[in-house]
Symmetry: C2
């Protein structure tokens, strides 16, 4: 990787319960490619990360509250997993609107593991080919998604992966898609 | 409460991540009414309970593995919440079949908080009036459920509540419904 994301601003939207490795590794990957990242959450302060969903891990400082950001502030959106994280996000109207507006804008979005629940809540899965952690797939199908079981799948700038084991493929693909920039808006 | 559940056998199906108060309090309520309970899970050993989803709480011994039980072994089914708990259950084919068979048999079932995700996975929500934790409601609607926002709702023996704050109402209603026994099978 050279400097293909130089000057790009990436929002990482996460809340308590985020799976630590899915926050840290993709952030490192896009920063290594030159991007600037901000951790955006539903509250100021810190986000409590977890390992394997039930083992508390580190806490990460929140850069901005989602109610105070706009999709114009960023070039790409990263949604890490962890079951409790999207469970928190989907209860927050500003978080759901941010995800919906981002996907509908055609700007690239990466979502891994349980993160596609936020896509379900934003109703942006309909007609898209996506993957996720196994437990989320019925909810994706019921939301109108075309669900596949692959390490990484891309549909018009929306990159999804199944879980931590897919991080190398996910990280490479989000760097590629984030570098491509805005895609044709579906519809 | 008198002894209205005397001789009744209640399966409590739960996995790691179960919300402790939603395991302990309903179990106490049905045992106080005379029922015998068994903690059924996807593995032998112990189940790790949580407080507010991300704070590890106590561990509870598993009585039986779900792959080795039958709905004929029980008169009623209790499904506690906690986000990670149904997330684990819905990945286990025996657990999903157990829930599906139980609901379809007309025997009474109580599900609180995030537990209705297991009902979604078993595809037994279609045409039913249910409630749940707020984050689960879009998934219930997408699965064909008629979702309401009430402390407790009962539809042909299926009792659902929103979360820990509803435990008094939930506990009273499951004792009542479990005492009534098998309901007319829907469909």
């Amino acid at each position: 990787m050279a400097n293909e994301l130089r000057g790009r601003r990436v929002a990482i939207l996460a809340a308590d319960g985020v799976e630590q490795v899915e926050l840290v590794q993709p952030r490192q990957a896009v920063e290594d490619a030159g991007a600037q990242t901000e951790l955006v959450s539903i509250r100021s302060g810190e986000v409590q990360a977890m390992n394997q969903d039930i083992h508390p891990a580190d806490r990460f400082p929140v850069d901005r509250e989602v109610s105070q950001v706009n999709i114009d502030d960023y070039d790409a959106l990263l949604l890490p997993g962890g079951a409790v994280n999207p469970d928190n996000l989907r209860q927050n109207a500003a978080a759901v609107a941010f995800v919906r507006d981002f996907v509908n804008s055609g700007k690239p979005v990466g979502a891994i593991c349980h993160a596609p629940w936020s896509l379900v809540e934003a109703d942006v899965v309909r007609g898209r080919t996506v993957t996720s952690f196994p437990s989320v797939r019925t909810d994706l199908r019921n939301a109108g998604g075309n669900v596949v079981d692959q390490e990484v799948v891309t549909d018009r700038g929306l990159v999804t992966s199944r879980g931590p084991q897919d991080l190398p493929a996910f990280n490479a693909k989000i760097v590629e898609e984030f570098a491509e920039g805005r895609h044709a808006v579906p519809g």
